[in-house]
Symmetry: C2
Subunit: 419 residues, 2 copies
């Protein structure tokens, strides 16, 4: 169990310059995206750096839902800058891009696929020392400020994959709820669904003691080690916050309490899944977002078709937990109860259905698109969606129940329409 | 919030050699005490080191409840050995001694008082890099495997004090429940009381947002930062485990489930108080153990008078929480409920008394000595006990309610007899 350094509080972002000075940084790379680069979170970081006499260069070409190409562009920038520290201001896309830039700039002779997860990449362990990276999340979903994971679209195969190593975990996360006031409501909802699924998937993942293989040398064990008594605490706690505050946070941009709680829940769920892992909702989400044709999410200011990550994850959740519940039905029922289902009279063998109903009700209340069909997918796409899921073994193997290709087809089919 | 790397599981200790090899260690210092040095936990570590070809020297002169003298002896050993890594196998005394040895061997020109907490020492921030330290706890109380704190008796003043810095936090804690099967029942009980008070004190400590002073530079902020939304989770969870499993763990040495849960609770409460801090029970405990005259705890194999730390902490807890409850009565009532009190019909203004009663019942059931009088203290000792508490500002200032000398006198007096 590796956990993370985070500092939480309204206004902690303005301390970033002192933190970097304390770390001895003199030449800092500030990464963000074009939407944020003119907004207060980035301005506050730049002011703090200047005030503390720290030189910096801004890279604001981060792509929302990054690709291998966009990662490599950021890596080039990092290599040229010879930076001694990094600050990432943004959502998961920015933090993940910055992790990759730090890694490959610190390991300049590596090929890009060296550190990418097998079987797509070589999955080599990271042994080079990295520079300090401070992550300042501006969305409340990814938890990337607490994890050693960086996700991207591998364009050649049209699938999402990533890099996973404790070595790329940020040195410090500054979890500042004031930034959440800038989020459009749809972004709050979709990033909140990511928190929801991080919590549900890590809590229902295969227990750490049942995972195989279990390499005898600790250094070869994956960051995602299965559910365990520590990640369980984070998962349950994050889920309770989602159940209590997500709807409020979506509906009212000025509800600082609800948005603050969701910002903390995002970090909590990150610590949970960063150690336990995620499974089918995430594994199946990668082709859902990777194969997008024309769907463009509302309130996302991007110039390319985009299924927001949290949406791609949550749409299969009713089908997934109906499928997995037979393995750990108590946990499925418990989480349904946290989400508001009446579980006193529920039968344990109905745990999956009860949780699925609770999820559908939750999504319906938040006006979420009615399944994969609403994103433009049809039955004809299922073989490609299944094919895109198969390489996601790193996470799908953490599901409590093994899946055949037929199982995956059935899960996608059941997710075409939700209500 | 800085959290800790721990690995939990039956048998994880035997991986220590691989961990050290992965860290590049070649010349390791193994610290333990004379009672443990012939027992399985130490043997397993030595076997693992040998098997991985790692040279090591054993230091088994750790004193149970260490002093500045015993710390300095260990520091001398560490300096001479020029080690590149440390392994501490034992309870809080051993882990704390090893932290100090690592610190001063890494900072050879420092005076001993340089890093000791003010006002007794100079409380200098640690800026030197330390060597990796792996902590293997064999008791379930201190949580020292997760904290940046090392406590000792400063013999000259007859008070406990310590060193507190994130820099001395172990690199890795191997939390192996198999070691808990070696603990005598009294050791289980007393170390469990330490967990109980870590949880209660950190949950009722002054909130982080109300603590003063609050240095503007993060590096100058203390490790003990007041209660906060993250340490709260650890505190409550640890308390739930204590309430459910401590009695079972004390009564039956073979109850691996109960002892495993307490081993995890110790680490959980450590992460909680390591960030939030402790307050009056701990602040007042230091003179209680420091001024011991003839009391020797049962089942502790030592050649000097000794009040076990957990006992010295818990005996004042009914008085302390009666005193503090007026500040955050809901939290006091909530913890009473976790400990088994019926709080449905309790009045909020009785929160302190309800919690005190729950604590007295808990201690009575476990056959704990009837207050400070049973340790050999009388009213005549109260001025010295108060005098010994005054320098413990570092923790007593974290109490939710300020205390005058008269308040402290009254708290000691109320703790003379419990039942």
């Amino acid at each position: 169990m590796a956990v993370s350094n985070i500092r939480y509080g309204a206004g902690v972002t303005k301390e970033v310059g002192m933190d970097l000075q304390n770390m001895g940084a003199k030449n800092v790379c500030l990464m963000t995206d074009k939407n944020l680069s003119q907004l207060p979170p980035v301005q506050i970081v730049m002011d703090s750096l200047s005030k503390n006499g720290i030189s910096f260069q801004v890279y604001d070409d981060v792509r929302v839902e990054p690709t291998d190409g966009s990662f490599m562009d950021a890596i080039e920038f990092a290599k040229k800058g010879a930076f001694d520290a990094y600050v990432a201001v943004g959502g998961g896309s920015t933090m993940d891009t910055c992790k990759a830039a730090n890694l490959y700039a610190s390991s300049p002779h590596s090929e890009f696929l060296d550190y990418v997860n097998a079987p797509i990449g070589k999955g080599k362990p990271v042994t080079v020392p990295l520079k300090p990276l401070i992550a300042v999340p501006t969305t409340s979903g990814t938890g990337s400020e607490t994890t050693g994971v960086a996700i991207f679209d591998y364009e050649h195969l049209k699938v999402k994959t990533g890099i996973a190593s404790r070595a790329i975990k940020p040195t410090l996360g500054l979890v500042d709820p004031l930034h959440t006031l800038h989020m459009p409501c749809q972004v709050v909802a979709n990033s909140g669904f990511d928190v929801l699924c991080h919590a549900l998937e890590s809590y229902t993942a295969i227990p750490y003691s049942m995972r195989s293989p279990c390499p005898s040398n600790p250094i070869q064990r994956p960051a995602y080690q299965g559910s365990n008594p520590i990640s369980d605490i984070w998962a349950v706690h994050a889920l309770q916050i989602v159940a209590k505050y997500l709807k409020r946070a979506v509906r009212n941009p000025d509800d600082l309490e609800a948005r603050s709680k969701m910002h903390l829940a995002s970090a909590f769920a990150g610590i949970g899944f960063g150690n336990a892992g995620v499974h089918l909702c995430h594994g199946m989400s990668y082709p859902i977002s990777g194969l997008v044709k024309t769907y463009k999410a509302k309130e996302y200011n991007v110039d390319h078709p985009l299924v927001p990550h949290g949406l791609s994850v949550v749409l299969t959740s009713p089908a997934v937990f109906t499928f997995t519940a037979q393995m750990f039905p108590e946990r499925h029922l418990e989480t349904a109860g946290i989400l508001g289902a009446n579980i006193r009279t529920a039968r344990i063998q109905d745990a999956g259905l009860v949780l699925a109903d609770a999820l559908r009700k939750f999504l319906f209340d938040l006006n979420v698109d009615d399944g994969l069909a609403a994103l433009g997918y049809s039955k004809d796409d299922i073989p490609s969606l299944v094919k895109g899921t198969l390489p996601q073994e790193r996470v799908t193997k953490l599901a409590p129940r093994a899946q055949s290709e037929e199982d995956l087809s059935a899960l996608f089919e059941a997710s075409m329409k939700l209500y």
